[in-house]
Symmetry: C2
Subunit: 348 residues, 2 copies
């Protein structure tokens, strides 16, 4: 057919930059959408160029989660804001026991940002989505003037379905339950902070940023009795355990000896003045289960690559004040309080 | 119960400002969430303090849409970024014929932004959500350093369901179909631009920002044959008609005499050097239907307050080049091309 093609001009992904016009809703916007986003996220729903996507959901409890990502730096060892934006939302959906299925992506771009780097980010995002088995079905791109944003911000919102009747709830947690973690603490936060401080830990420490949905489906299909799961991102293990203890009116006692911490994270934390319990993770989960299933659960987790360093790190105790305590290696005990300062800004 | 309450301290909504710590995932984050977001959006799902929301959907085709909002100024005549963020996503969902049900909200806040203004924005958002009958069920808040964002950016992602078997599709459009608009063009864009240029049109011109879902449900329940709907936001009526014409391989002929344009918009456009066909709307829709139903459709739209100035503005014609033409009042004809420049940055 002899139709005119308003998208004919090719974007320059070598030297081109994001311009205000890419967010104006006209021809340049369509070029960016077609040549970058639709090309990377390739699926029928995006190809329709509609302002909304029609999605098909299996029977079950539908779950929705949203996360905006403002991490700096945008690229880090083990990922970038694109892969992180998928992992973060896939994990939020998965922690409910749901299978994540669809994701929307909202980009806020700063004028002048290199198209080459944006392409790397979007391609990482597309790869992360493929690995997690989710489709990026709806998108939006806005551009703001130079100096009015910081390169790239990405919101992802995920939809999933609990198809197996699993009913996880924080309210099921009770004294005697065991607390498990799927692997080492603080990898993401220390990786980012050391890169920011330029102290060179990146070489031997990667962010743990990863989608946990396949690990979760193994856990739920093989071990009965799992009560609740949560991913310890901003604020680290401490923040989510404090929130849970407060919500449930119980205490949590952690065993310092059992906390999996990589040597690079331990030394990085010492140098940076951080406590691994407060440092963000982006590919770890905390699970609560009755004591009788804890060994089976940790074994199951260890059989998955993302759970190979899983450990039982503590237990739920009676304490109506809702304190989280750490039983130290020397036999002492200290309170692991809520984070107070802004320990790690813009970590995700 | 004698539980400790880590959220005891009240935020100061008179003189307080957004601080980095409000985005750190600890105690201050929880305070902001509890005292501002949960208080305003009040619903059981948010109250659960979970990283994801369980939502209940009726039978039907599920639809998902996302939009990030970066409008400047944040407050304008007829609304603010909060109400706009609900309207925009409600409308994107509604244009498919779906009933919008749930919305997620992702906030990116600039350090130092006044909590007082943030509260106004969030409360407008909550009110807009109530009016549209949608629940804000999932949220996220990030804070970036002063100078790294522009006050407040909001992403909303909406989920809705087409419960009545309606199947709108751009591919159904064919020569002979009529093109309708639900009201006057360009109100939002001219309102924003005149406020930015400080030329004082705000006094007699309000943004049309509004949720169109109730108008849409009247249209779909009362008039058969509606083929496709779209809301002409960024890029205005011109951008979406050009996109549709290109996608369908048809032409569209508009009648200049029939285009509803308010006098304040017309004079504002003259002063600002804008063409109302290219100016954004935030509470208008374009509908396509077979000629035989066009009168009935325009009558139905006019019975709704948001459709009182509805008009049949043109028709679909054969043209494999996909041009949009304007039949002028003087009997001439000109091409209404894709927007080329960045006519109106950050209009939504």
């Amino acid at each position: 057919m002899n139709k005119r093609n308003p998208f004919g001009a090719k974007l320059n992904f070598n030297t081109g930059v994001v311009e205000m016009i890419h967010g104006a809703g006209g021809k340049a916007s369509s070029q960016l959408i077609d040549q970058l986003f639709v090309a990377a996220f390739d699926n029928d729903m995006l190809n329709e160029h509609s302002d909304q996507a029609k999605i098909t959901l299996p029977e079950g409890q539908v779950v929705m989660a949203t996360d905006s990502h403002v991490i700096t730096p945008l690229f880090f060892s083990g990922g970038n804001i694109g892969s992180l934006a998928i992992h973060g939302t896939v994990n939020d959906v998965s922690m409910s026991g749901a299978t994540p299925l669809y994701v929307s992506a909202g980009f806020i771009l700063e004028e002048g940002y290199p198209l080459k780097d944006l392409k790397l980010i979007v391609e990482s995002m597309a790869e992360a989505a493929r690995e997690a088995g989710v489709a990026v079905v709806a998108g939006d791109t806005k551009v703001v003037e130079k100096g009015k944003a910081d390169g790239v911000f990405i919101n992802t919102t995920g939809v999933g379905v609990i198809t197996n009747g699993v009913d996880l709830s924080v309210n099921k947690i009770q004294p005697g339950d065991k607390v498990l973690i799927s692997g080492s603490m603080g990898d993401h936060g220390v990786c980012i902070m050391s890169k920011r401080a330029n102290i060179g830990f990146e070489s031997n420490l990667e962010s743990d940023s990863a989608s946990l949905n396949w690990l979760v489906s193994d856990m739920l299909s093989q071990v009965p009795g799992i009560k609740y799961m949560r991913d310890p991102t901003r604020g680290g293990v401490s923040a989510i355990l404090n929130e849970i203890a407060y919500q449930c009116g119980v205490g949590i006692r952690l065993e310092e000896d059992q906390l999996p911490i990589k040597e690079a994270v331990r030394s990085g934390c010492e140098l940076l003045g951080l406590d691994p319990l407060y440092v963000a993770n982006e590919g770890k989960l905390i699970a609560f289960c009755p004591a009788e299933f804890a060994d089976q659960l940790v074994d199951t987790m260890r059989q998955h690559p993302l759970g190979k360093d899983a450990a039982i790190i503590g237990e739920v105790i009676e304490d109506e004040n809702g304190f989280v305590q750490l039983q130290t290696s020397f036999g002492g005990s200290r309170v692991v309080d809520w984070i107070n300062g802004e320990q790690l800004p813009r970590i995700c």
